[in-house]
Structure formats: structure tokens, C-alpha cells
Symmetry: C2
Subunit: 519 residues, 2 copies
């Protein structure tokens, strides 16, 4: 069986001891193993900081951008092989795997372009300077400089490709070395990408490290100039937040966690309209793409009472056309969940939701296609209908991270649906489908503080968007409260997590010369 290696201090190394086993989630075949036992995280981290950080800070934004461009191309050149890894270890359909892999190369390319725009500077002077007192000579600036630590990227199992790309793009462009820790269960694709990155030979020594296997005690080796960017469950997020290794040095921590995302059909939208079709198509995509294992997928579908039957029947019909099974089998459109423990969690979650909702689809036995009998981590696409959302609790609080969503009726008023959506207590994305400007206005104002991103579908752009479930590098990704309180991407905003802002006060002519010279 293939043993995945880690890349630390500029070397590929194998862990010793009992490894974690990586499987094909459609067949449960063992396909690889990984261990970090015996790795010296302290030395690896220090190498990244000392060697990698120093090298990256000596480069301009344009030069860092060129590195990202080369990494983007390295992924794209091996796209077909990577797709096979996504199918075999991620349970991805071909289309799911492309979404992940193209997301990685696309985001790297976007930040390569940004690097080019930022040009020869090595750090950013933010805004204009400002006179500090009566004398025009005493002046203040703010600068954004690379932090002198490392960026530890703890990625989620669902996007082993994109997760690497989106986090690395921002960190490397900002001038910080990265240590990538993919989720072990789906690490094959991440490992292949890591190999491509090292082979591309464009990253300075120490700028990139890769950990395959258990995190062990790596958090104990963090220090105060480091940054940790985590994507995963709210429970793990809370454990990170209170970990001594992070609390001790006020280590900067970014968390993307659970999210009860919503899609709202506006009261103005009639069955059959372009906006209506857009709504159904995008809800359907979020329920089935990646078997619903997207942090941005819609979990709650808010529908005006008079439209509930239409929406329920249309979605049920669409879900009947879905083919669940081994993504290596022709015709399969929805793959398995990524792991056995995810399957357990999702089944338990559906049970919880079903206590306060009724099944529209999903509660019947089914046979996944192309799978040895009894094998694989499959769950049927499950649509629920919650008729008493005031009494219901789980629908607003428990994220079922699979092909599952719940229809929730509302009275067609923006005030009511905002109140219901806000019960989710902090979401990554909320989508609204409406051509009524007054309704849209109310929804913008009402939903904004509870979301990292709002997405408005409407007639004129019905076939021109990537949908609410797609995270674009131009817009920030993250969300308040339950969603973790983090923020990534958003164009140049994405560099902030890896930058330190410093106020600089002094004699204007001196500072002008120093900042211009060194920028």
C-alpha cells in the first residue's frame, strides 16, 4: 500500500509507527496510509519560519505572484490524473473533482494576477499618511508587513485541492511560509498536489511544508508570529481556540466552521419564471454536488407558504433523477460521503432533523450503483419539510454535512424570514431569489450582520452566475458566530490574515524616504 510522505525542512519523510489508513469511500478498499510519528514538528516549523519566511519576504509581490502562477499551472497540467485521485479517495464524481481541482488552480491564478498588480513592493503602505499634531512635520503611516512566523493551514476533508490553493495563495502572496495539514482521510489528492508543488521547484526552501497524517502535538510548536487557518467543524474549532499553544502567544487563528446556510425564494417569484428555475437548479446543485459536503451548501430552504407544494414536488422530482453510487461507475451523479464517521454523523443528524420535520425524499432503502454489496458510505439525498419552524431547533442549529436540506415555509414577509434565518446564529452564505427591489433591500439589511456572503439571484443573471455554493476569490469567505468568525479571500483583503498592521510615527521626510525606498 502506498505510504504518503510528509515534506518538512526541505525533505520528504515517512512517519513510523501505526499509520492512519486511507480508503476509497465508495468501496472501502484501502488505498494508502500515512503517519506523522517521529516527525520533529518543532524543527520543521522553525525551518519554515527561518528559511522560508526570510526568503519570501525578500521577494516582491510580483515575484511571489509568479510562484503562484507556476503552482496553478502545475496543477492544471496534471488535472486528469488529479481527477482520478479525487474519484478514488474523495468519493468525488468527475464533476465534483473538477470543481475542487479547478478551484485550486483558479484561485492560485487569481492571486498570481493580484501579485502582478501589486508589483515590485514587498509590503503595503495602507492609505495616505496623516498629520498627527499641529506641526506638519510629525506624521503617521500604517503599513501591512508579512508576519514573521508560519501559516499553518488545517484543511477540511471535502476540498483537499481547493483548500490548499485558496489558503496558500493568500499566505504566499502576503509573504508567509505555509505548512499544509490536509485532513488525513482524503489526503491522497492533497499529497499529489504537494508533490507537484515541490517538483515545480519554484517555491524557496522552507516556504512550503506538508504534513500527511495525524496532527500529533504540532500545535505545541506554535509561536506568536504564526497564523493558523482552520476549516472544519465548530467543535474542533472551539478546541483550537482554547488550545494552550494558541492562547499563549495570541496566535492569530482563523476559523471556518459549521453553517446553516439558507436559500430564500422571494414572495414575488412565480412558478416557471427564470428566477424560480434558477432557485430550484441552485438548491439542487448544493444538495447533490460533492454529496452535499460543501460548507456553503444550502441547508434551509425558505419558501413562501403558497409555493411550498410546488417547490417540494419539483425538488422531489429532480432528486428522483439522481444516481447515487461509485463515482467511478458511468452515470453516477452523487458519490458517497468521505468517511465512515461522516456517514454515522449524517445519519444521526438526519434522525435529529426528522424529529421536527417530515421526509419528502430520502427515508427509503436504496442500492448505490457500482458498489460491492454493503460497502461504501452512502446516504440518499434527503429533503425534509419543517412545518413548525418556531418550535424546531435542530433545523436552525445542527448542520447535516451531506446531501440533505429542509424546506421551511414562511409568510412571504422579509421580517419573518430574516428572523428565522438569523436563528442559524452566523452563516457563511445566504441566498435570496427575487426580482422585487424592496424585498431585496430588506433582505440585504436584515441578513448582512449574520452572513459572510449574501447572494441575490434574479431574472437578469439567471444563467450567468456560479451559484451561492461557489467560493470566489473576489469575495470574502467566512461567517460570524457559529460559522467561526473567520474571513478568507476577498481579493487583496485575503492578505490581511497573514499581514501585520503597524502604525509608524515620525518626521515626515524621513518616513517618506524610508517607506518609499523599502516598500
Amino acid at each position: 500500500m502506498e505510504q504518503l510522505e510528509s515534506y518538512v525542512s526541505g525533505n520528504w519523510v515517512k512517519g513510523s509507527g501505526k499509520p492512519s489508513i486511507l480508503v476509497n469511500p465508495a468501496t472501502e478498499e484501502h488505498i494508502a496510509e500515512a503517519s506523522t510519528e517521529g516527525l520533529d514538528f518543532g524543527a520543521a516549523f522553525q525551518y519554515a519560519r527561518d528559511v522560508g519566511g526570510k526568503a519570501l519576504r525578500a521577494l516582491s509581490f510580483a515575484q511571489r505572484g509568479e510562484i503562484l502562477r507556476a503552482l496553478s499551472r502545475a496543477i492544471h497540467a496534471k488535472r486528469d490524473a488529479l481527477i482520478e485521485d479525487g474519484i478514488a479517495n474523495g468519493g468525488n464524481t468527475r464533476s465534483d473533482a473538477k470543481f475542487d481541482i479547478d478551484g485550486a488552480s483558479g484561485t492560485l491564478a487569481y492571486y498570481a494576477d493580484l501579485g502582478k498588480q501589486l508589483g515590485d513592493a514587498k509590503f503595503l503602505v495602507e492609505g495616505d499618511g496623516i498629520q498627527l499634531a499641529r506641526s506638519p512635520r510629525w506624521f503617521g503611516y500604517h503599513a501591512l508587513v508579512p508576519r514573521h512566523g508560519l501559516a499553518l493551514h488545517i484543511n477540511a476533508f471535502n476540498f483537499p485541492g481547493w483548500g490548499i490553493g485558496e489558503k496558500m495563495a493568500c499566505a504566499i502572496l502576503a509573504g508567509m511560509p505555509v505548512v499544509v495539514k490536509p485532513a488525513t482521510s482524503t489526503a491522497v489528492l492533497a499529497y499529489r498536489i504537494a508533490k507537484l508543488f515541490v517538483e515545480a521547484n519554484v517555491l524557496p526552501p522552507g516556504a512550503f511544508s506538508f504534513i500527511a497524517g495525524s496532527p500529533g502535538n504540532m500545535l505545541d510548536s506554535l509561536s506568536e508570529q504564526d497564523v493558523v487557518a482552520f476549516t472544519g467543524s465548530a467543535d474542533t474549532g472551539a478546541r483550537l481556540r482554547t488550545h494552550a499553544g494558541i492562547v499563549r502567544g495570541s496566535v492569530r487563528l482563523n476559523i471556518e466552521a459549521d453553517s446553516l446556510n439558507s436559500a430564500t425564494l422571494g414572495p414575488d417569484v412565480s412558478a416557471g419564471s427564470d428566477t424560480y428555475r434558477m432557485f430550484l437548479r441552485e438548491v439542487m446543485r448544493d444538495m447533490t454536488q460533492k454529496a452535499g459536503q460543501k460548507c456553503t451548501a444550502t441547508r434551509r430552504i425558505f419558501v413562501p407558504e403558497g409555493m411550498v407544494n410546488d417547490v417540494r414536488d419539483e425538488l422531489a422530482a429532480m432528486l428522483r433523477d439522481v444516481q447515487v453510487g461509485n463515482p467511478a461507475t458511468d452515470g453516477v451523479t452523487v458519490g458517497p460521503l468521505a468517511t465512515a464517521s461522516q456517514l454515522r454523523d449524517i445519519r444521526a443528524g438526519i434522525e435529529l432533523l426528522a424529529k421536527e420535520s417530515t421526509f419528502v425524499t430520502g427515508n427509503q432503502a436504496f442500492t448505490p450503483a457500482g458498489v460491492p454489496e454493503g460497502k461504501g458510505y452512502f446516504v440518499a439525498p434527503t429533503l425534509l419539510h419543517c412545518t413548525d419552524p418556531d418550535a424546531a431547533k435542530a433545523v436552525h442549529a445542527h448542520e447535516v454535512f451531506g446531501p440533505c436540506a429542509t424546506i421551511v415555509p414562511y409568510d412571504g414577509s422579509s421580517g419573518r424570514v430574516v428572523e428565522l434565518i438569523a436563528r442559524g446564529a452566523g452563516m457563511l452564505v445566504g441566498s435570496v431569489y427575487s426580482d422585487d427591489r424592496a424585498f431585496v433591500t430588506d433582505m440585504v439589511m436584515g441578513l448582512a450582520p449574520y452572513h459572510g456572503r449574501l447572494y441575490f439571484g434574479s431574472e437578469k443573471i439567471a444563467d450567468q452566475t456560479a451559484g451561492p455554493g461557489t467560493v470566489l476569490p473576489q469575495s470574502i469567505h467566512g461567517g460570524p458566530g457559529r460559522a467561526g468568525g473567520g474571513e478568507e479571500l476577498g481579493g487583496q483583503r485575503g492578505l490581511a490574515l497573514y499581514s501585520h498592521r503597524v502604525a509608524i510615527q515620525g518626521a515626515r521626510p524621513i518616513l517618506d524616504a524610508v517607506l518609499e525606498l523599502k516598500k
Copy 2:
């Protein structure tokens, strides 16, 4: 004895049970008491969110700015009476008290001006919109909107006036209701200001609450749209960071904590020059102002080896002219520490430092002026000299929050002094005195990631600055690592803590209309 009241849900209320006793730290006389026993924090917080938040969000920036202007004027109008409170309960000299009180009114006035500039908008659209895909119709914006919770301000004992002003200015202007929790020991001045604020009758109901006394279990009443801004010790900061009430909802938490600030004399500066005098004057001010109880005060004084004797002798001579005692007594220039426990901590800290340094001043018995025998929390201004900064640990890690600083020699090279300063592991402010552009350049680049603010003193501005110890609203205040990782003020940047950034995607004409209309 006067009993301080709390202002919650629009009413002044007295706590029951055993109160905390507030004293005059120069005489140990009891002057007031405060208790929060029996207060319903949950109800108070909900009133602030529901009533105060809603009212503030309905106001424009200009209107919120007008509130701040009225609060600034309310303080200024009672400046003389407030100074007396600072002397009696804070152990402030008249000059110390003015520094605190004028800092409060000045910062409020600064943000009043900013509100006027921001005008009729109620929230901010950030930057230009951006095309998201091939179609020019699908467009993205970012907006900064007020969070829908409350801002809990946990202030430090050393600046009961300024602490209220600087935190409130940013929160109210951003559109968030505030709950002010001053340190109990010096809460008399904070209480007087709270009374003035309520009497000014310009704050909407619920926009302002005030808690006099123990925090009790108030953190358990936090929810995910709230913000906590804390100034105090790193130990308390770490307890807040891991508190279930904060972790649970990813409550946004800003911490300003311990800081081993430095002042560096450049290798080019000769004795007797304007830059040299500036350096001595400002180090001296930081050692004595507020009895050294400033989070921005210099703790480590880095001096080129050849200048150590000069600096040591000059500072010693200046410190001999200081009169420690009851600030109500004529001629006293340095007051007591604020509390008995501070006195214990500072004495223990000096002992710790003295294990790796020698005393220049401070280790002799002295009699504070105008104080009953044996009373008061006094410590002599203490200058130490550390000859082996490589072996020394406490000098770089233990903040002695009193009139105490340590001279540390270095070889005159920027590389060496940067390495020594960085051992402080994250500071609020570092000051450098030099007219050598190459040295200044190295110091900017070397020190930036370890500081919230850098201050460069030089000949041309020798008598035109407020010194490194003064926090100005134009520049950010905070620092990485040990200093807590927080950030406040910095002009419009100060609103970010209280704002939520949201990405908005949709059809361009619709979003343009909605955002323009509602902004």
C-alpha cells in the same frame, strides 16, 4: 460612604450584598463602594442589543458623531471636578488626571469629526464593486455593517477616563450599543463620566450601560453578535479568550495586554544633541507619568554601549528631582500605584528584574510626601541596568507596571537591537531615536512585525510630538503576541472591530440601487 450605581436597561441601580471598597491609594481612606449583586446581566444585555442597537443603527454616521461631540463636551465642561476624582481615587497627579480626561474628550471629539465626514450613510460600502464572471451583470460588493449585538468594554484601572472615551467613540460611531465595565478599583472617575453621559441626554435609550463593581457572571450572557474589548493583563486576557461564553459564539474579542515596550537610542546620537534630549525627556516621562502605569510606557531602554554611562547618569539625576507622594500635596510629581495588589505585584516584579540587573535608582527607603505614616501604595522610581541581556529573561518577558525601566546595552547595530527587542514577543509600541536614515530604515523593517506602533524621534521634530507613550486616535493602538493581538483606533480603522464585513453578490443594477439607497 458613597455607593456607586450601575446604569442598566435605562435605570440607575444599586447592587446588594457585600460591596467592593474603593480607596484613595495615597492614604488608603475608603471613599466609595460598589456592588453588582442582584443585577440581571442577561436582561441588561438584551435591552442594550434590542433597544440601543436598533436606535443607533437608525442614525447616520453624522448623527452618531453629534452624540460623540456632546459627550466630549460633557466631559470637558466638568474637567476640573473630574480631575479631583482622578487625584482622589486614581492616585493621579493633576497632570496625570488631565492626560486621562483630555484623552477621553479629545478622542470623542476626533471621532465626532470622523462621523461628520462620513455623513448621511448608515453603513459603509468598502471599495469598488467587482465583476465576478464573464457577464458584466453579475457583480460583487463588500459592505461594513454594524454588528447586531452589544460592545462590552472591560477597561483597565489606569485610564478610567480615556478608556471609556476611546472604546466608546469607535463603537457608537460604528453603530453598536456599549456596556462599560470599568476596573472597580478606580471606578469613581468612570462613574462620574457615566453620570455626565446620561445627564447629557443625547444617547438613545439602551445605547449606553455602565456596570460598577464585580463582573460576576456577565460573560455568560454574551452572544454571537457581541464584541468584547478588553484592556488589562495578559493573564486575564487568556482567561477571557478561553471563556465558554466567548468561545461558544465566536464572540469577537479584542485584547490589549502586557507589553515590554522599548526605547532605542540610535548609534548616531551624541550626548547633548536635540535628539538625545528628546530621548531622555520621553523615557523620563514614561517612567514617571501615571507612576509608570501606562500600557505604552517604556520598560526597556536600549543604549549603545559607549553611551550607557551617560544615559544612566542623566536619567538618575532626573529621577532624583522627582517628588513621590500624595498627589493632593503641592510639589508631588509622582503619585502612588492604584491598588495594594498592584504594589505587591510591582515589588515582586522589581525583585525578579533585580536578579538579572543592578539598581541605578530605586532600592532605597523613601518617605512619600503628604501621606500618613505607613499608608499608600508607593514605589520609588526604579531604574535598572542589565549587563547581560542574552542571559536575562525577565527583562524581556515580565512587565513591571509601575515607575520602572531597565537600561540594556547593545553594540550599536540594528540587527542586534532588533533581535533583543523582538524577545519581548509582541509589543504595543517601540520608539527609536536617531537621525541616521539607514539605521531608521533597518529599524522600521526589523521591528514592524513585533509592534502595533513604531515611533521615530529625531532632531527636526524633537519638540513637536506627543511622545511614544501617548495613544492618538489617528494611529492604531494594540500589538501582536504578548500584547494581546488586538487593534483599536487608527481613524476609520477603529470602526472595524464593531462592524461586520459582508460580501454581497447579485445583479449589478439591483445592488447599485439597493446599496446607494440604504447606505
